[in-house]
């Protein structure tokens, strides 16, 4: 786009003086920044409202909603009470039986378990499809790719029936096992592995490496960006999962953070401060991770999008 803009200026516009051209580009610039600022405000405000709301007492949130002033957002008295409540540290939080710390720990364990097993099993699977020799490999690949067409939320109830018949319900296994391999990740990794020259494998095999040795010493070190990308997307997917943990797990000790937050809204009285604090705890880690590793995220989305 930048290149295009430069080209516009190079094409001589008949009758245009340098002043009118300057005026035109200045107006375009103003438009761009004004419109961009509006979009930015629409996107930042809900997050700002949530984060600042979590840092004030609940009475204060309601007190300053009307009229709309700076105080609608900025706390008069900063307070960590909401966080102490949801984490079950304050006596009030304890009396409600709130334990978002536990929920965060569960979510972290499940996400780590899925990402780790996904890195192992999807990498192995993708290596098979990218490199190894097998009769009718195309048919097996179709078996994998076709699962991408299965609508996700629509099969949650049948998935629960299967998990129940395996007696896995209400355990960490129920939260981890269904996701330890992913057709999307395998598909993306096959593309990444395809970019690694085959000569490297052959050299390693001549040196006496096994398939596993090739995978470990040739493929994995050369596919680090691809592995990071898929691990990030997988982490975000599992961290944010809601419907499955809601139905698969009943006991409170295994609840994930998303389920814990959603439960706060089903009670007759809605505690806004706690919802804000819980939402901050649940979303800030993923957003920070995204901001730090944005390049990989975007690449992953484009990869799963354009080539899918």
């Amino acid at each position: 786009m930048l290149k295009r803009a430069v080209l516009v200026e190079r094409v001589p516009v008949p009758g245009a003086t340098s002043f009118t051209r300057w005026l035109q580009s200045a107006m375009q610039q103003t438009w761009f920044y004004a419109l961009g600022a509006v979009v930015l405000v629409i996107y930042v405000t809900p997050f700002l409202w949530m984060i600042l709301g979590s840092l004030r007492r609940e009475v204060e949130i309601f007190q300053y909603t009307y009229p709309l002033t700076v105080r609608t957002f900025v706390p008069v008295e900063w307070s960590l009470k909401n966080f102490l409540d949801v984490l079950g540290i304050s006596p009030e939080g304890k009396s409600f039986g709130l334990n978002f710390g536990r929920a965060l720990l569960n979510t972290t364990l499940v996400s780590a378990g899925v990402v780790a097993s996904s890195l192992v099993f999807n990498t192995m699977g993708a290596y098979f499809f990218a490199r190894l020799d097998f009769p009718r490999k195309g048919f097996l690949f179709l078996f994998v790719i076709a699962t991408m067409l299965i609508p996700f939320e629509a099969v949650m109830v049948p998935l629960y029936i299967v998990v129940r018949s395996l007696h896995l319900q209400d355990s960490y296994w129920a939260l981890i096992l269904p996701w330890y391999a992913s057709p999307f990740v395998i598909f993306a990794l096959v593309q990444f592995f395809g970019e690694i020259p085959k000569e490297l494998d052959e050299a390693a095999i001549i040196d006496g490496a096994s398939h596993f040795g090739v995978l470990r010493h040739v493929i994995v070190p050369n596919a680090v960006p691809g592995l990071v990308t898929t691990a990030l997307l997988e982490f975000q997917f599992i961290w944010n999962l809601f419907y499955w943990p809601l139905i698969a797990v009943g006991s409170k000790d295994l609840q994930t953070i998303q389920v814990a937050i959603a439960q706060q809204t089903t009670q007759t009285q809605v505690y806004w401060g706690r919802i804000f604090a819980g939402s901050v705890l649940a979303s800030v880690p993923v957003i920070v991770l995204f901001l730090l590793m944005q390049r990989y995220y975007v690449k992953g989305v484009v990869m799963s999008g354009l080539k899918g």
């Binding site: 786009m1 930048l2 080209l7 094409v11 761009f32 961009g36 979009v39 930015l40 629409i42 996107y43 809900p46 409202w49 949130i61 309601f62 909603t65 009229p67 709309l68 099993f121 192995m124 699977g125 098979f128 020799d133 097998f134 009769p135 097996l140 078996f143 994998v144 699962t147 609508p151 939320e153 099969v155 109830v157 049948p158 029936i161 299967v162 998990v163 330890y180 391999a181 057709p183 975000q236 961290w239 944010n240 809601f242 419907y243 809601l246 937050i261 959603a262 809204t265 919802i275 804000f276 649940a282 979303s283 993923v286 991770l289 995204f290 944005q294 975007v298 989305v301 999008g305 354009l306």
Partner: protein, 306 residues
């Protein structure tokens, strides 16, 4: 080793050759993933069909064969039809709005400029945030007395709006929120598509005196067709399965105005303890979505020739 042995005695055909051994080892790499897909992706489809044809309850397991009774009941259930109607209304408003807006934003923000990069990150932030957090926070923002949106509306002198408790507005409120959340996803894909269009087409058009709008209609849209179709297909299928905002914000109400199909399935399976009926509806939804994606894939394939 066995290859050497096979050569030494060419008459005896050995089943366990080096080649076969290689295949067996290769298979070990892919078996864990294949088992996962068989058990957790394909088996649920069979389970859905089975538990819709036999009597099924979570505690009692499978009982008598009831044939198509669950499906007949579904066709006679007005709430089922209503939920299908609500879901379709959601999809046909949300998907076009999202794609038009993300197309606009992609064109607007596809420039190498620090401010544009900041705006892009802000738009993408809700994509990585959880849908629970987004719908819970928007639920509070929509609140008729205490919500931020009504605070803004009244500050410019307009009357308050009951977004969530008004049956005419509740679905629209969810559509607006979900467009806000998911626009970043389609924007990124469209932007990657835009990058793939060579600059020389635009140069040529500009020399011919084409306006910006003419360039968009004549160059951008036709060349982006494949990417656009892809976004339409995936967003249609994703949106058809909307569940979380309904669960957290409206519980299907008011007056079933937001009772989408996946929420109705959840209600039957887990609140009314009617797993068999839920399974029958899951099977039907699965079938609808498979047909939709098959049709759209076919369209997509024919567009490639373009």
């Amino acid at each position: 080793m066995s290859a050497v042995a096979a050569q030494a005695i060419p008459q005896t055909r050995r089943w366990w050759t080096t080649r076969r051994r290689g295949h067996a080892i290769a298979l070990l790499f892919v078996i864990p993933a294949l088992v996962n897909f068989a058990v957790f992706r394909y088996l649920p489809i069979l389970a859905a069909i089975r538990s819709s044809l036999w009597q099924y309850s979570l505690l009692g397991g499978y009982g008598q064969f009831i044939g198509l009774q669950a499906y007949i009941r579904m066709l006679q259930d007005p709430i089922f039809w209503k939920s299908l109607q609500v879901t379709v209304a959601y999809v046909v408003t949300k998907v076009p709005a999202q794609i038009a807006l993300s197309m606009g934003l992609a064109l607007f923000l596809a420039r190498e400029n620090r401010f544009a990069a900041v705006v892009r990150s802000a738009i993408f932030a809700p994509v990585v945030s959880s849908i629970v957090v987004v719908s819970v926070i928007w639920g509070l923002m929509y609140h008729v007395q205490l919500g931020l949106i009504n605070s803004i509306i009244t500050s410019v002198g307009l009357p308050r709006i009951a977004f969530i408790s008004n049956p005419d507005l509740a679905l629209a409120a969810i559509v607006i929120m979900m467009v806000w959340k998911e626009i970043g996803f389609s924007m990124i894909i469209l932007m990657a598509g835009l990058k793939g269009i060579p600059d020389m087409f635009y140069e040529a058009a500009r020399i011919d005196g084409a306006s910006g709008w003419q360039q968009f209609l004549g160059i951008t849209l036709p060349l982006l067709r494949r990417v656009l179709m892809f976004v339409v297909v995936t967003q249609t299928i994703f949106s058809f399965q909307v569940f979380v905002p309904v669960y957290t914000m409206t519980h299907g109400g008011p007056l079933d105005a937001t009772k989408v199909i996946v929420y109705y399935i959840y209600q039957n399976g887990f609140l009314f303890q009617d797993m068999g009926y839920a399974a029958a509806m899951s099977t039907l939804t699965l079938a609808i979505l498979l047909v939709v994606s098959a049709v759209q894939m076919r369209l997509l394939r024919s567009e490639v020739e373009y």
